[in-house]
């Protein structure tokens, strides 16, 4: 654990990309195979399924520390992180000679927990808290609760491994995709010569678009671009191999079982075909994301759900055909092959149509109708572009529609976590409902550090009541809240649920009386048919 916790500290204590890269390279050069594999597992954002819940850890800490519960709560809300609170409060006997176990040995240890009784678990974990130094204790808790996050991007891990293995980054990126068992075998596979083929059920790294902020005219002629609708569904890669079909989400989750109808149709594809596309709820055309979300939310796919909310794959790219990797070919060529494939085996999938227009203004007009089509705008892909790894600026753009906005009144605040621990940064906003204010959205991002500090101070001076960590404040501050969609909701007091709310700006010019009303929000529902209509 020593080496890994030192790596964590180094990554955590610098914002310099070069310093982070150097620390990663140093670590991977020295780490034993088994440790290196686990390190990749965590660094690439993978998490163990929660071994012990945070409520349980909190209970154990309460007993171990002997502190009154309220004081523990107050301390926790100051620290802003349970794993760290434990590391700070537990008195450890071995602080000067921390446990010599390696990362993989620790994982071996803690993976024995699920088989134990709660009492045994407590005995072991509390013992481990004392055995490790503060940093190790913090990491152990993070791993236990499935919350370990490290401040490195996937790209940085790929670059470091490319340097350590002397392999091209694209090869590394591909090898890191999908699910794998962290162990010496995986580390050997990472280090294998470039030609070595791995598990054929793994997806390719997704090619991502950058948001277009400039005017599209700056991109040159419309004819240079391949234009698609930006669907609001689940981005997925469908791999058809001789021994089956695999569907991977953009978050590298295997979702094959969730979409049997896509799997059924994919059987009609030639063996060794990989398609990139969007899975959408579909009945005589695309349905809003809310419907798809309801289907994903169900634990079991019953015949009833399959009938109520059928899905469809709309394909927009072809990454492999007859076993040939096409990713380096221009998208114009890949699109042609995709269309040919579609006419050859129309049973396999549907095509995401191209949007055709003579100029940017015509596209602008089409884009204005995005909401009626349940799309988020358009994708602009340069005709010569390859299927790159990661986010592509300059050749792949997402040209999204402007979000909805409303002016809401700040009514509740509570402390954030991590970098914002101890600062009141999680806000709840309300709109007018007659003489009352009704909460409609929670948001925390969108303010700069200076504004956060000012709002924090204001909240402390204008707190009306405290409920644990939550404070109600005088309803005075107004913020403009941006959001993507609105649906009717039986679960929210306000009767509506907004999607992806975030703070657009602080409206210091507006008194609370001029904030929006619930009627204003309900007015938007007409454009955005409710998910419940479909039922």
């Amino acid at each position: 654990m020593r080496a890994f916790s030192e790596l964590y500290e180094q990554l955590d204590s610098t914002t310099s990309i070069n310093a982070k890269l150097a620390a990663l390279v140093r670590y991977f050069r020295a780490a034993p195979a088994h440790d290196a594999a686990w390190a990749i597992y965590f660094l690439s954002g993978r998490r163990l399924k929660r071994v012990v819940g945070s409520a349980t850890l909190r209970q154990w800490l309460l007993q171990e520390s002997g502190l009154p519960e309220w004081l523990l709560e107050e301390t926790y809300s100051t620290v802003g992180d349970l794993a760290e609170t434990i590391a700070l409060l537990v008195e450890r006997d071995g602080a000067r000679s921390p446990s010599g176990l390696s990362l993989s040995e620790w994982l071996e240890r803690l993976l024995t927990l699920p088989a134990m009784s709660p009492a045994e678990q407590q005995l072991h974990v509390v013992q481990w808290w004392k055995e490790l130094d503060a940093r190790g204790c913090f990491l152990l808790n993070k791993i236990l609760t499935g919350e370990l996050r490290v401040g490195v991007s996937a790209g940085m891990v790929e670059r470091a491994l490319a340097e350590v293995t002397s392999l091209p980054r694209t090869v590394i990126a591909h090898r890191l995709m999908g699910t794998w068992q962290p162990g010496p075998k995986f580390w050997a596979f990472i280090n294998a010569p470039a030609e070595a083929s791995g598990d054929r059920s793994r997806p390719y790294p997704f090619c991502l678009a950058a948001p277009l902020e400039a005017r599209p005219e700056t991109l040159g002629a419309v004819s240079d671009w391949l234009i698609e609708w930006k669907w609001d569904g689940i981005r997925a890669q469908v791999l058809r191999r001789d021994d089956g079909t695999w569907i991977w989400s953009r978050g590298e989750e295997l979702i094959t079982d969730r979409f049997p109808e896509v799997v059924r149709r994919a059987a009609a594809l030639p063996v060794n075909t990989v398609i990139d596309g969007e899975i959408l709820a579909w009945r005589d055309g695309v349905r809003p994301f809310g419907e798809l979300q309801q289907r994903i939310g169900r634990k079991k796919l019953t015949a009833k759900i399959l009938e109520e909310t059928p899905v469809q794959l709309l394909a927009y790219d072809l990454l492999e055909l007859d076993g040939v990797d096409l990713r380096d070919r221009p998208i114009s060529e890949r699109r042609e092959l995709l269309e040919q494939l579609s006419s050859r085996s129309s049973a396999g999938f549907d095509l995401s149509p191209l949007v055709v227009a003579d100029d940017w203004d015509a596209l602008r007009e089409l884009r204005a109708g995005s909401r009626e089509r349940f799309v988020e705008g358009m994708m602009l892909k340069h005709r010569d572009s390859a299927y790159g790894t990661g986010r592509q600026r300059g050749v792949w753009w997402k040209w999204k529609i402007e979000p909805y906005t409303f002016d809401g009144v700040l009514v509740y605040a509570q402390p954030g976590s991590g970098r914002r621990a101890n600062m009141l940064t999680d806000y709840t906003f309300a709109v007018h409902d007659g003489a009352k204010l009704v909460p409609v959205a929670k948001a925390y991002s969108g303010l700069n550090d200076k504004e956060i500090a000012r709002v924090d101070r204001w909240i402390r001076q204008n707190t009306v009541e405290r409920f644990g960590p939550v404070r109600s404040v005088k309803p005075e501050l107004v913020f403009e809240i941006a959001f993507e969609a609105i649906n009717e909701s039986g679960r929210h007091k306000s009767g509506v649920a907004v999607r992806f709310p975030r703070i657009a700006r602080w409206r210091e010019d507006k008194p609370a009386a001029e904030a929006n009303t619930i009627e204003d929000l309900r007015g938007l529902l007409r454009v955005e048919p409710a998910a419940s209509d479909a039922r």
């Binding site: 955590d12 204590s13 610098t14 914002t15 520390s65 502190l67 009154p68 309220w70 004081l71 523990l72 107050e74 301390t75 100051t78 620290v79 802003g80 992180d81 760290e84 609170t85 700070l88 409060l89 976590s417 991590g418 970098r419 914002r420 621990a421 101890n422 600062m423 550090d449």
Partner: protein
């Protein structure tokens, strides 16, 4: 009820029986000063009383011709009916607790204090009393200080690692107290000169005059840019993010403070490294001091005083919060 020996007025802590203030935040007739930090020592009063060790820094801050009467630690002096004495608080050079005795009743005002060893000032000595007025800046259990030696070694290793990469290390520390403590503690690892910000160096000189050994120091202003590669520079936190920083090029930054105990606090302030080095008492230090005092009543000022009040009451100690205007900068 017995009359309080110390009350809070709009000018500060006040003894009505003997008509003097402790660390007043407005001009008064007689001011007893616990230490020379800006929120405790303010100018304009007619007469000052302070520990002799702190005279240099106090005069540096409030003026050479300050009407100051200095006292040795433990020396007894009288103001009206009150018998007073000053006792080491271990906070910074010359810092003192104030013991006040009137008619057989004893109150102690700790001022800011710490119980961890510090080579730049006399160590804290517990004083018995009936009523204790203690600071509570870090009164939560998560604030307990690691061994100073380990922290200073960390600072030294950080400096050396930066040197290997050819970059400067800029260490932010309170210009009075913390900066000198770091310079003194680093003697265990190095004998090289350290660069000091213009706000730090005059106080370093005062410390040297008081006989405190520290690493040699050089002024930042008169140095060419190239010389900063691999150097350690000590500056007040106010210099962070200022144009003054540009001269060091690509530097690594660190901050010495008790607040750095919490990872979120460090990340929020945007320093590369946080070093847990405080001149205040930590949670165990506060509890120890309250126990050592034998006080039957404890009054707490600033910081997390509400939490400590509630905790003490639950432990059967008569405790209350006292609202003062002292800051929590560290």
């Amino acid at each position: 009820m017995e009359a309080a020996l110390i009350t809070v007025t709009d000018k500060g802590l006040y003894c009505p029986q003997a008509d003097f203030h402790i660390d007043p935040w407005q001009p008064v007739a007689r001011a007893v000063i616990t230490h020379a930090h800006g929120d405790h020592a303010r100018s304009g009063s007619e007469q000052y009383f302070a520990a002799g060790e702190g005279a240099g820094v106090l005069r540096h801050r409030l003026g050479r011709d300050l009407p100051l009467q200095t006292l040795a630690y433990g020396e007894v002096f009288r103001i009206g009916p009150a018998v007073l004495s000053l006792h080491p608080a271990g906070h910074v050079l010359g810092s003192a607790q104030v013991r006040i005795e009137i008619d057989g009743r004893t109150w102690v005002v700790t001022g800011d204090y710490k119980r961890t060893p510090d080579p730049t000032c006399a160590p804290f000595t517990p004083v018995r009393c009936d009523v204790l007025i203690s600071e509570a800046t870090f009164a939560l259990p998560c604030y307990s200080w690691p061994d100073t030696r380990d922290v200073v070694e960390e600072i030294y290793r950080w400096w050396q690692a930066n040197r290997e990469q050819g970059i400067a290390s800029v260490l932010f520390a309170y210009a009075f107290g913390k900066a000198q403590r770091v310079l003194a503690e680093l003697l265990a690892f190095s004998d090289e000169p350290v660069y000091g910000h213009g706000a730090v160096l005059p106080l370093v000189e005062e410390y040297r005059r008081a006989g405190i050994s520290m690493l040699p120091t050089l002024p930042v202003e008169k140095t060419k840019k190239a010389d900063y590669a691999g150097a350690l520079i000590i500056a007040p936190p106010s210099a962070a993010g200022s144009t003054w920083m540009r001269r060091f090029g690509d530097a690594s930054t660190g901050f010495c403070s008790g607040w750095m105990r919490i990872r979120g606090a460090r990340r929020r302030r945007g320093y590369d490294r946080g070093f847990v080095l405080s001149d205040h008492a930590d949670w165990p230090g506060l509890l120890q001091t309250i126990a050592d005092s034998g006080a039957r009543k404890v009054l707490l000022t600033h910081g997390y005083s509400d939490a400590l009040v509630r905790y003490l009451r639950e432990q059967g100690v008569d405790a209350d919060a006292l609202r003062t205007a002292y800051g929590e900068e560290e």
